[in-house]
Amino acid sequence: MTADFDSVSAVNVSRVFGRRRVLAEVSFTCRRGDVLGLLGPNGAGKSTLLAVLATLLTPSSGQIRYGARTAGDPAVRGRIGWLGHDLQLYPELTGRENLRFFARLYGVPRVEQAVNSALVRARLEHAADDPVASYSRGMRQRLALERALLHAPRLLLLDEPFTGLDGRSVRELVDRLRAIGQDGAIVIMATHDLDTAEAVLTRALVLRAGRIAAEAAGGGWLDACRDALTHSS
């Protein structure tokens, strides 16, 4: 059962926690190949927006549309990948077992082949049968990225993906994300790291107090975002 889509749209999405409005009337559309950055200070609503896009939170009003489908369709989740700051791995299991579990969970065909390919892409063949608890942060990050990509998601959501990575791992992640975007996936990432994100983003939204304060694309988007962030702080 696949639920493919070429675009993701947020239509007047608001989210309230108690009396606190975390997202207010957020609207935007992303299409295949877009690598969209969600920028903004802490508490701007970036992670909440990612959780809503991931179907993990329901909007208080408005809706997210995945092509012609909505978040209520479980098949949509099979086309979404998520990589958070927490890497969502089981430290007691080996790298191979982690990938195998998630491949089964997401209904990936030919599990062993998919797992082996993912281990090669993550450059973890040598440590595939070691417990994840023994991995370095960079190794876990590479494994978690391949875990998020196992089912070839159309929409990849990343929350602060560069945190805690050394220079080499950051460069590898940037290259990988650029390739994923070029392959036709939609990538949306929340980040504070503008300098690193510059190399990979094609568009950016600046959020401030749950609202879109600025939207930028094309040449010069970074300066536009810096200006908006300066005025928002």
Binding site: L56, R77, Y90, L93, L105, Y106, G107
Partner: protein
């Protein structure tokens, strides 16, 4: 897709438990300690107080079950793996069923040790006279207790005081399970087992299981989405 997801979650939990043995060891240790302490209190001159075996068996199951339920989503809390589970392209209730199956198997393993020990220490060997009926009572009671407990454990996964809140929420709701389990087991532990009484309480347990399983499957997805 539902069954495949539930099976994947169950297998993963069993694999991690076999590797770490952390929940099964603490659960068994607690259950055995409780039974031994009660044995000192309720057995005089080799004779146990009437019906006490059934009560102690279910107290040990309930307390050690609470301990195990407190850990059931702990692995998902670590590294935020719960999000990855909830994003699987299957009804989210499948995650609940996989987790429930894991906790039922773990409690069944504890009961496999507890029942002979209780029968031996409390002079209740007659319990084994109706093995299938006893197994049915234990299975129905364990499923009912774990069905409610797994749902509450999932609800409390992000609560800071979850260890305190779980028993506070769990025991009032599962009192009927404990009472029915005790009454059914006591009927089977009498010198002449009272089969009709045991069957009556067993039917009550089955009704409880049906109601709470349906409620849990119905409410798990909305509870987890927010």
């Amino acid at each position: 897709m539902f069954a495949r997801t539930a099976w994947a979650v169950f297998r993963k939990d069993v694999l991690i438990e076999l590797r770490s043995r952390e929940t099964i060891v603490t659960t068994l240790f607690f259950a055995l300690s409780a039974v031994l302490v009660f044995a000192f209190a309720f057995v005089r001159d080799g004779r146990a107080v009437a019906d006490v075996a059934a009560a102690i068996l279910w107290i040990a199951i309930a307390f050690s079950g609470t301990l195990a339920l407190g850990r059931v989503f702990e692995r998902e809390r670590h590294d935020d793996a719960m999000r990855a589970l909830l994003m699987a392209p299957a009804p989210r209730a499948a995650v609940y069923v996989g987790k429930l199956a894991g906790i039922v198997v773990l409690l069944a393993a504890a009961e496999a040790l507890l029942v002979p020990l209780v029968a031996l220490l409390f002079d209740a060997e007659v319990l084994f006279g109706r093995p299938w009926l006893l197994t049915a009572v234990l299975a129905a009671g364990t499923i009912g207790f774990a069905a409610v407990g797994t749902l509450f454990a999932a609800m409390l996964v992000r609560a800071r005081s979850r260890d305190v809140l779980l028993p506070v929420l769990l025991y009032p709701i599962t009192i009927p399970v404990i009472i029915a389990g005790v009454r059914a087991t006591a009927a089977l532990a009498r010198p002449v087992p009272d089969e009709p009484v045991a069957v009556f309480w067993l039917m009550l347990l089955v009704c409880f299981d049906a109601v709470f399983l349906v409620l849990a499957l119905w409410t798990f997805e909305p509870l987890m989405a927010d």
